[in-house]
């Protein structure tokens, strides 16, 4: 059973025994002078619904192609359940998915396409065609040529083609791209349903809501590098411990914040307001200290941070990998801080 998105589902202690579904180390892909992927490390654990987030051109699809053995890495390694997809297609046993838009033979019907892919899969895949079509709600169109299918129908057929392999690991590249809002919702529900059935899913996307809704762990990739990898819950929890402060004497207040125990990362933001990270208990003590110093509080409020805010904080800027969100000072019972950017 897949854990609820946002939970610490990827806890290695809870993970199934055996090699991780995906283990990527030092993955690099260069095309001449262009470095599309610049040293990616990531681990997708059994049961994860793992979001691979990044803006267009960040190297997500290239990474996925390497994971599926479609292109050879310049450096580094990919292991799927401990097997190398560059060595043999047998490494893809129990693995399915698609990169960019799923593709089919336009002059064949949906069913014929699936029959062919099932024949190529073997191992009883033909017996799963009806269920797969049913799951993606394409049974009524199974005799129609794929050439006449809409983008959304092809996306769903792509999922059906993946399901033929009875996968334990599903790699989906931008599955909701190009879909209308209803199609996107249906795709999210479908992915969640598959995850609930026990599939490990790697979901590449630049759609934050998609990832936030269905994923429990996330890697944020920028310019071919992972700038954050970890639990979405931890990421947001760390970020939600950020506060904004406005006082009658901000200069003095900043000095008080920096000197105060339990307050971290106190600084002035681009609007001249003080921001800091803290536990709730420390905030109370800070209020007292500010009053005693004569810097009276005009406003102090926790920042509401969405995954979108975090995403942009990681993926926009001067090109340098930004630091992970400030974690509140540990009080000993908190979740682990996000893993550092690589």
């Amino acid at each position: 059973m897949n854990p609820e998105p946002g939970s610490d589902a990827g806890d290695p202690d809870a993970a199934h025994a055996g090699p991780a579904p995906i283990e990527v180390r030092g993955l690099v892909k260069r095309y001449g002078e262009l470095t599309a992927v610049a040293g990616v490390d990531l681990t997708v654990r059994s049961g994860d619904v793992y979001g691979y987030l990044g803006p267009n051109g960040a190297g997500k699809t290239t990474s996925l192609r390497m994971m599926l053995g479609l292109i050879r890495p310049t450096e580094g390694s990919v292991r799927l359940f401990g097997r190398d997809p560059q060595v043999s297609v047998r490494a893809l046993e129990g693995v399915a998915g698609f990169v960019e838009a799923p593709t089919f033979y336009p002059y064949l019907s949906a069913r014929r396409n699936l029959e062919m892919l099932a024949a190529y899969d073997g191992f009883g895949a033909s017996g799963r065609i009806d269920d797969a079509l049913e799951t993606v709600e394409l049974t009524s169109r199974e005799r129609d040529r794929v050439g006449g299918f809409s983008h959304g129908m092809r996306q769903r057929l792509g999922i059906a083609a993946s399901l033929l392999r009875d996968p334990k690991l599903l790699l989906l590249d931008e599955p909701a791209t190009g879909l209308d809002p209803a199609g996107m919702r249906d795709m999210r529900l479908l992915i969640r349903r598959l995850a609930d059935q026990g599939m490990t899913v790697l979901l590449s996307s630049h759609l934050l809501t998609e990832v936030e809704d269905v994923c429990n762990r996330v890697a944020i990739v920028r310019s071919g590098r992972i700038v954050y990898e970890g639990e979405i819950a931890t990421l947001k929890r760390g970020a939600s411990s950020l506060y904004r402060l406005q006082t009658t004497d901000d200069e003095r207040a900043l000095a008080v914040c920096r000197a105060q125990s339990g307050i971290a990362d106190a600084r002035t933001d681009e609007h001249g307001r003080i921001t800091f990270a803290a536990e709730e208990g420390a905030v109370g003590l800070l209020s007292q200290a500010l009053v005693e110093s004569g810097a009276l509080i005009v406003a102090m409020a926790p920042q509401t941070v969405t995954l979108e805010d975090l995403f942009f904080s990681f993926t926009e800027g001067d090109g340098a990998a930004p630091p992970p969100p400030a974690a509140p000072p540990s009080t000993g019972h908190d979740a682990p801080a996000p893993e550092p950017a690589r």
């Binding site: 192609r65 599926l68 479609l70 893809l92 960019e100 024949a119 190529y120």
Partner: protein, 273 residues
């Protein structure tokens, strides 16, 4: 357990659903019919041209397939062959389906062999179909009669029919080399039109070399020359030397081409589609 046979069967199935297959096979059927119609329209004219069996076109229908083999080598059979061989890998690029089939349970080499066999099967089908239509149409027009061999001896109609079909099989030797060149261009260019036209251009270029003055010494080693190897069968006794030569000369063209196609297919990155 999926294997080469699986790929081969599905490639043939896919060929049955593509227009270009029918374009090629249609040409293989129509050309002999048009040829026979032309013979009928010129019935009263003298057909004693200066090419093999030309004088027999009105006396035996079995001369028709042989004359078609003679002229088909210029561009018709290379084009018909290239229509599928040049497309079989490139169409996967065009449809973006390489990534779809590369992520199933079949190794790349199995896909390569299955596709190569399908392209070869199509070429064999086209040649045999063309020959059969020519035999039937020719016999309807000029009768199922005996034929004079290139050595001047008379060959009975059943024996001539046998020789026609063995000739068709011999003709498949250079056709196989054309298939290999088409497959190479298909894998390298990743573009159907470029591969089909490229294969035809190579075939025509080799023929052009053969007619250039001063290059007579290379004639025996040109692919175009090997299309005439079947004529050794129509001599008494049978002259095997052009057939043996065709086998190894065509191997020199075909084997490097198919090996190169294999390496390209095996090693290529599927970065698009």
């Amino acid at each position: 357990m999926p294997g080469i046979g699986t790929v081969y069967r599905w490639e043939l199935f896919k060929l049955r659903h593509q227009k270009r297959t029918y374009l090629g096979l249609g040409a293989a059927i129509i050309v002999p019919i048009l040829f026979v119609v032309a013979i009928r329209l010129q019935h009263h004219h003298d057909h004693g041209g200066d090419f093999a069996f030309s004088s027999y076109l009105n006396r035996s229908g079995l001369a028709v397939p042989l004359v078609i083999l003679l002229f088909g080598a210029v561009w018709m059979f290379p084009l018909i062959t290239a229509l599928v061989a040049g497309d079989i890998f490139a169409s996967e690029d065009h449809n973006g389906t390489l990534k779809t089939i590369f992520t199933r349970s079949l190794e790349r080499w199995q896909l390569f062999v299955g596709k190569t066999l399908a392209a070869a099967t199509y070429a064999v089908t086209a040649i045999l179909l063309c020959g059969t239509v020519a035999v039937v149409a020719g016999s309807l027009q000029s009768g199922f009669n005996s034929l004079q061999s290139l050595s001047g001896t008379i060959v009975t109609a059943p024996k001539a029919l046998e020789l026609v079909y063995v000739s068709l099989l011999i003709y498949l030797i250079p056709i196989a080399a054309i298939v290999c060149i088409g497959l190479l261009l298909s894998a390298v260019t990743r573009n159907s039109a470029a591969a089909v036209v490229g294969t035809l251009m190579i075939s025509l270029l080799i023929q052009l070399i053969g007619v250039l003055p001063g290059l007579g010494s290379v004639q025996p080693y040109l692919l175009s020359t090997q299309f005439n190897a079947w004529q050794g069968l129509l001599r008494t006794p049978i002259d095997w030397s052009p057939i043996v030569q065709a086998a190894w000369v065509c191997a020199l063209y075909g084997i490097p081409a198919i090996l190169a196609a294999f390496l390209v297919f095996m090693r290529r990155d599927v970065a698009g589609g």
